[in-house]
Symmetry: C3
Subunit: 162 residues, 3 copies
């Protein structure tokens, strides 16, 4: 129905590793996908943690990379809040209100995004920097660098850095 | 004077509950309004606190909602800084330099925004999540969800997530 | 080769004073410049610290301005991380992995940006607020306010707030 010139694009850089900010990113992404936007979430720096598998993966790493890997949360469900984290109490409270109000928790928002063909991209440069390897990240995602992001973003209607 | 195609739109998502970030959002919004942009600030998550009335409002709430309500700042003037908050010393310093340099403090920036017809929107989904009710927020604001934001943003010249 | 209508613009507001966020801003800016975008980084609030000279500059200041000046990092190399700062351990780790992976540290990213004609702008309003004076900031930068930012941004293909 659309010709290519009419396709609306939304491009979100998810830099943050906070549960609440990642929720906002995925809610916006899924909303835009529902309105027929072509949507990409480009995960860079701490935002890569949203894509991590939740089990530890046996992989050979250098000392620094091992330390980063241990200190960073393994997957969406383990991420903290940007505000009122209270040593992990905040995320529990948020998850409780999410359940109580029938809202959708982050790991399911990510699954929904995949089902709606939101393109989930892991930034290869920062994967390298933080010592994250493909085996540690979920399936069905793409790998790209800043050039690919810019290629998408320069035609984007809605470009956000979260 | 303008036909609809020429109206420039600026759409800011205010996710942050920090005094300094909210200042930046409102300074940008008021600037854009002064240059004839149609401006919307969509307040979501902790950004909703900028819209709270500063007195406590008697309302029936569940336990979690009551806790969030108590822990979050009541209104713009009570918000902390994103950097160098120093248990509240930072905001006092900022407010002192604002006064000294004849800059405009956040509560007045919000009043100015209203006078310039900046559309202030509260995100209903995150109000629900954080247990905030309309009675607790200031007058003259609108209520909407992510679909309304996307409708504005897809025609936006300047879209920012703060 | 391009007519003016075809020049693509990228405008980044760097609000954050975090090493990692500033890295992201400069990597995006340098990438966009490499793809022939006209790129501006508008440094406001804590983002101004990326432009500070690293030596102390003798200048007459009021008490509050002096305190801000002492508490804020002097230049890109002294900035902390947004996550896992660990009282300065985090930045050391990041700098080590940057070196190990032959990535580019922030001060060199800033030099590269200048060489690629990325326009580095310091927000005069927040300089005033934080008591920063031109003598304290690096050479080859421009000074402007929110109106100049909006003039650039309303024609921007990629506008980000970092």
């Amino acid at each position: 129905m659309n010709n290519p010139a009419e396709i609306k694009k939304t491009n979100i850089i998810l830099f943050s590793g906070d549960y609440d900010k990642a929720m906002a990113a995925y809610i916006l992404a899924n909303g835009a996908a529902a309105y027929d936007h072509e949507v990409t979430i480009f995960h860079t720096f701490w935002g890569l943690n949203a894509l991590r598998k939740d089990e530890p993966i046996a992989i050979k790493k250098g000392f620094l990379e091992k330390m980063f890997g241990k200190m960073m949360p393994r997957g969406a469900d383990k991420m903290g809040l940007s505000k009122m984290n209270f040593a992990g109490m905040g995320p529990k409270m948020i998850k409780n209100v999410i359940k109580k109000h029938n809202a959708v928790p982050l790991p399911e928002l990510i699954e929904m995004a995949k089902e709606m063909d939101v393109k989930l991209v892991a930034c290869t440069m920062t994967m390298d920097l933080l010592g994250l390897q493909k085996e540690e990240l979920m399936e069905d995602i793409e790998y790209a660098g800043v050039a690919a992001y810019l290629g998408d973003a320069e035609d984007g209607r809605v470009n956000l850095f979260i």
